[in-house]
């Protein structure tokens, strides 16, 4: 398969990544809509204080920004970020029966995307020997905290994906 332009990434890999980002964004939006409809938690801004106290980590994507675009660094940050969100979504399990299917779909798609990135890093020979893990996760002690956490994680994930999308687009440009 033809290589991506300024990168040694196959074009089909980049197209698949862009598609997966769009799919996860759609899943994330579905989760946000249901949290708002079912539990009236619609605005992440009104949950910032709670977010600070829960200590919800946010991954870096500095190597994917246009100013400092660095292929290996971008893939590695993208992979670690996706692992972090995989962990956060797992910590939200038991969010509520109505939301469980939406959360499961989001988690499956994030896991799929992380696997693709990892395998591409292996194919490029830039994957570390041992696959990293996502580190300690916040504990969501009540149903409310899982729902509020869901709003915050989904909103952070959308911003993370937006940055990832731009980075991948730079890499995909002919």
């Amino acid at each position: 398969t033809p290589l991506g332009s300024a990168s040694s990434l196959p074009q089909s890999f980049l197209l698949k990544c862009l598609e997966q980002v769009r799919k996860i964004q759609a899943d994330g939006a579905a989760l946000q809509e249901r949290l708002c409809a079912t539990h009236k938690l619609c605005h992440p801004q009104e949950l910032m204080l709670l977010g600070h106290s829960l200590g919800i980590p946010q991954p870096l994507l500095s190597s994917c920004s246009s100013q400092a675009l660095q292929l290996t660094g971008c893939l590695s940050q993208l992979h670690s970020g996706l692992l972090l969100y995989q962990g956060l979504l797992q910590a939200l399990a038991g969010i509520s029966p109505e939301l469980a299917p939406t959360l499961d779909m989001l988690q499956l798609d994030v896991t799929d995307f992380a696997t693709n990135i990892w395998q591409q890093m292996e194919d490029l020979g830039v994957a570390p020997a041992v696959q990293p893990t996502h580190g300690p996760m916040p504990t969501f002690a009540s149903a409310f905290q899982r729902r509020a956490g869901g709003v915050l994680v989904a909103s952070n994930l959308q911003r993370f994906l937006e940055l990832a999308y731009r980075g991948l687009r730079y890499l995909a440009e002919p």
Binding site: H39, L41, Q45, E46, M48, S142
Partner: protein, 308 residues
């Protein structure tokens, strides 16, 4: 944890008061000493929160909502932070009524499914998750003594009927049956029914046929008609009596009743009717002389009486 709501009771009677307290601990960073705790019910701010600083430095606000008139509502404990209102905890409040006593409990033994089907009037909506259970036990004389209990019958999603399968029934023994209703605000039970399943057997109606005029040996008298009927197959082993009703197809006329009749006859002649007039005929049967419930009326058979 930043903030924690405690409510006097998560479920109260509709219109009753409800008291809640919210404790904000110091670890909820960036908080000035006099952080003001605010309450929201749904999207509306609720005045009347009484706030105090506790010995351990935490802040506690208590609020009493005089009348909770929503069957479901979200109570939020908030803090003003910069120019935003931060939600720190939410409690799902529910209000409704304890279960009313179910009434008009009635049962019929269904021979098609070989099950005892009971139904009842559930009473007004309680606005709360409410569980109905059909309970019963086998008994000897007139349900005074309880012998072996029968497995509870749980209706399918919110229906007011339940079907006790054959394997839990002794068809010719007394059993006591009642409905138990339960929700967070209480329990109630219906009056007990004491019955013998077969004594409430409800048959399907018999099938009516006109007789083939060609095979008629004796010509019909004016104002007469002939028909035959057969009982419902699965009820063949049950001795029955039946009733026939007929009505001329002439505008507003009422049914005339003929009975008791045997559950099967190869030929029955009905006379004394208006000549050359179309009649609608229906029949129903019941277990007899042993007790039973009347079947529904059969679909109509249309026959025309002989001319003058």
């Amino acid at each position: 944890e930043c903030g924690r709501i405690k409510v006097s009771a998560p479920i109260v009677r509709l219109g009753d008061p409800i008291t809640a307290s919210c404790i904000i601990n110091q670890s909820c960073s960036h908080l000035g000493p006099e952080a003001q705790i605010l309450w929201k019910l749904g999207a509306e701010l609720q005045p009347g929160g009484r706030q105090q600083r506790l010995a351990d430095g935490t802040q506690e606000s208590t609020i009493t909502l005089p009348h909770l008139n929503h069957s479901q509502a979200l109570l939020s404990c908030c803090l003003r932070w910069g120019n935003s209102l931060q939600i720190l905890d939410q409690a799902e409040l529910q209000a409704g009524y304890p279960p009313a006593t179910p009434h008009n409990l009635s049962c019929a033994m269904n021979l098609t499914t070989s099950s005892l089907i009971c139904q009842w009037e559930p009473g007004p909506d309680t606005h709360l998750p409410t569980n109905f259970t059909l309970k019963s036990f086998k008994s000897r004389r007139g349900c005074q003594t309880q012998e072996d209990p029968i497995t509870n019958c749980v209706p399918e999603n919110g229906q007011s009927r339940c079907s006790i399968p054959r394997k839990h029934l002794q068809l010719y023994q007394n059993m006591s049956i009642w409905v138990q209703v339960e929700n967070a605000l209480g329990t109630s039970v219906s009056p007990q029914l004491c019955l013998v399943p077969m004594d409430v057997v409800k048959l399907e109606p018999p099938t009516l046929w006109a007789l083939d005029p060609k095979t008629e040996v004796v010509p019909l008298q004016p104002g007469c008609l002939r028909l035959r009927w057969e009982p419902w197959k699965p009820g063949l082993y049950i001795e029955q009596k039946c009733e026939l009703r007929h009505q001329p197809q002439l505008g507003e006329t009422s049914w005339a009743l003929v009975g008791p009749l045997p559950s099967r006859t190869l030929q029955h002649e009905l006379c004394g009717l208006l000549p050359s007039t179309a009649y609608a005929l229906q029949m129903r049967c019941t277990r007899w002389p042993l007790p039973g419930l009347w079947s529904n009326w059969s679909p109509s058979l249309e026959l025309t009486t002989a001319q003058r």
